[in-house]
Amino acid sequence: MNLTGTSQLLRFSTVGSVDDGKSTLIGRLLYDSKEIFEDQLAAIERASLKRGDGYVNLALLTDGLRAEREQGITIDVAYRYFATPRRKFIIADTPGHVQYTRNMVTGGSTAELSVVLIDARLGVVEQTRRHAVIASLLGIPHLVVCVNKMDLVDWSESAFASARADFAAFAAGLSGVDEITFIPVSALQGDNVVAPSTHMPWYQGPTLLWHLETVEVADRFDWARRRFPVQWVIRPMAATHHDYRAAAGRVEGGTWRPGDEVLALPSGLRTRVRSIETYDGPLSVAYPPLSVAMTLEEPLDVGRGEMLVGPEDLPVLTRDLSATICWMTDQPLEIGRLYALKHATRTIRAVVDTIDHRIDVNTLERIEGVTALGLNEIGLVNLRLSAPLAVDSYRENRTTGSFILIDEATNGTVGAGMIDDRTRQQELVYQI
């Protein structure tokens, strides 16, 4: 166990339904990496017996809500934690059926890697394709495809090879996915989850855990563009810090040093960083994902909702957004409707201008001529904004390229937006 706090953090999502053995796979990962505690194991042993399961049902570990246990389904995103000496892991465990697309999008929004399950008996099915499409839309660069239930196909190499070929053919059409790793597993028996399988000598690759521990994840932070959305202004207003005023926030892009030129958007104010402050003392350099506070050379009125950026690489300042939106509520997104839009630390209003197309999440096909997006549907939408926003495309920066839509009547989070590259074309020049 690494106690020095120097291990890396890997956030990954899993998608799949109970039938895929996804909960069993996670249960196995936690169990075999000794992350399951004895009282948890005793509880699921009792529950398995009560349900009449013929084995200790590891899936029961992850189904947290009463309704999930009763119905034997996963409804919601659950977060799981485990650590090995190499890494600490946060799993966003999400259900796989089409009616849970929004949960998959939610779980994937913070993931750097996604584990997709295929039932070896069935091969690539609609649900598998959907998982891959969503991973691609969310910009998750690494996919791990676990071909599961190998025990039920007599550990057959050809079943694995055919699932792999089918998936690879489909994934060739996906953008944003850099790397796909295929692993034949039996979550039920534990083959190739933590320990190598003795049943499949033909497979020489890594086990799932070994892969998760060692995969080089593409840097999820944006090192190129300096971005610092201001959350809060620290102003002690006390005798000891009379003139102290610092813009507090989290570095969402680039490296920052005292003396750096900055531009505040949307106000257009320009100054330099005087110091980068933290509770533990000033820093000579700040970078993602550190939370810091910046004092500026001039006492500008830079508050929440402004974003400090590097003038050498500007975001787009725009009142028109093109974005891929996943819709998350029963009441459809419709042309002409008004929503609150939260982007970084700024909340404004947005009107749905046009819907360019809907994306069939099973086939990646574009359907044009739609006027609404229903629950769990995803489409490319054009929005008009009540005030200018400083944005990047989601591909460039997952924080300054994303937003949520809020229904002002229900206060619910109804849409998740990923800003499209074409937003750039709408406002090429602006004045400062």
């Binding site: 706090g5 890396q8 009282d39 934690y81 959350q231 690489d313 090429l428 020049v429 602006y430 004045q431």
Partner: protein
């Protein structure tokens, strides 16, 4: 006035000159996420409060608040729900820490709720006040008009908690509706509410028990003495070592033992069990946690042992 053409931007130039620093440790990343959440709450809510019990998780929360808001004062008061069953060592610690920070503490008292007839002591021998404190908490939230309350709950503690959002809306009865939670994406938190609702905020959702201890060690935070091994008169009840004292009175068939033990969690004397342990230093405690084979709540909380869904049920009723 300068006209800037974004097409002349040169991203690679910036990337090339920037020396990419060493990877941030996972504790740094968890800390930064929690600080980000606290600042969002300070900015988006009018009257937040931070629950401080003197337990290890809320001790970490106070340090995170210092990281988020110093050198200014916290933009919210601290609040403690005093059940009347607290360990005296923990109350002393609480008051010392609050004085050291120079922040304001509001104490909501379960005894007062009982005296005012808001709740009734549960029947039976040595009753727990665990359920009663929910009413005291909700009364305090509404009397103080708090619209957001920070809690130190973690998702690794319990499987119902594993599904709760970082921003968790509660209705005017404080109820959690697990089937009707808002999607929570990226680090965009939705703080919108109707009148009468309030938000529970869990900034250390993604921390584990070991993360908390590692952070306490890294930050050299003081903790109440009962976390370290000490000698105490206890009885074994419901499989747990409970401290004999004002809340636990041995029954005729119970044998009072004098044991060397410590607490893994800090709750009420009436329902928090001690574990046999010789760990007398932080390093020893961390070594023990790292190899522990029983969850902290499983080892030490009678309140969760009631049923498989005990925590879910209490959360639905407004419990943290």
């Amino acid at each position: 006035m300068a006209v800037v053409d974004p097409s002349s931007r040169n991203a690679s130039m910036v990337a090339a000159e920037a020396v990419i620093p060493a990877r941030v440790s996972h504790l740094d990343e968890l800390e930064s996420e929690s600080v980000h959440i606290m600042r969002e709450v300070a900015a988006e809510f009018e009257r937040p409060a931070l629950l401080f019990s003197g337990g290890k998780d809320s001790i970490v929360m106070l340090r995170l608040a210092e990281k988020a808001f110093r050198p200014a004062r916290f933009p919210f008061p601290l609040m403690h729900v005093d059940t009347g069953h607290n360990f005296p060592e923990v109350l002393a610690f609480r008051d010392a820490r609050v004085a050291e920070l120079g922040e304001r503490l509001i104490v909501a008292s379960v005894q007062e709720s009982i005296d005012r007839g808001r709740v009734r002591e549960e029947p039976g021998h040595d009753p727990s006040r665990n359920r009663l404190q929910t009413t005291t908490l909700l009364d305090a939230i509404s009397e103080n008009k708090f619209d957001a309350v920070f809690g130190g709950a973690r998702r690794d503690e319990e499987k119902a908690r594993a599904k709760e959002r970082i921003f968790s809306v509660r209705d005017s009865f404080g109820q959690w509706d697990p089937r009707n939670q808002r999607p929570e994406l990226w680090s965009l938190y939705n703080g919108w509410m109707h009148r009468g609702e309030h938000m529970r905020i869990f900034p250390i959702s993604n921390w584990t028990e070991l993360d908390v201890w590692s952070y306490i060690a890294r930050e050299q935070l003081e903790i109440p003495s009962i976390y370290f091994a000490h000698q105490r008169e206890v009885v074994k009840r419901d499989g747990m070592w409970l401290a004999v004292g004002p809340c636990i009175h041995p029954l005729d068939d119970e044998i009072v033992a004098s044991k060397i033990l410590r607490y893994r969690t800090v709750g009420d004397m009436s329902c928090t069990g001690a574990v046999e342990s010789e760990a007398g230093s932080l390093a020893e405690v961390i070594a023990e946690v790292a190899v522990a084979r029983i969850t902290e709540r499983g080892a030490t909380r009678a309140d969760d042992a009631v049923s498989e869904a005990a925590m879910e049920d209490r959360k639905r009723e407004g419990y943290f």
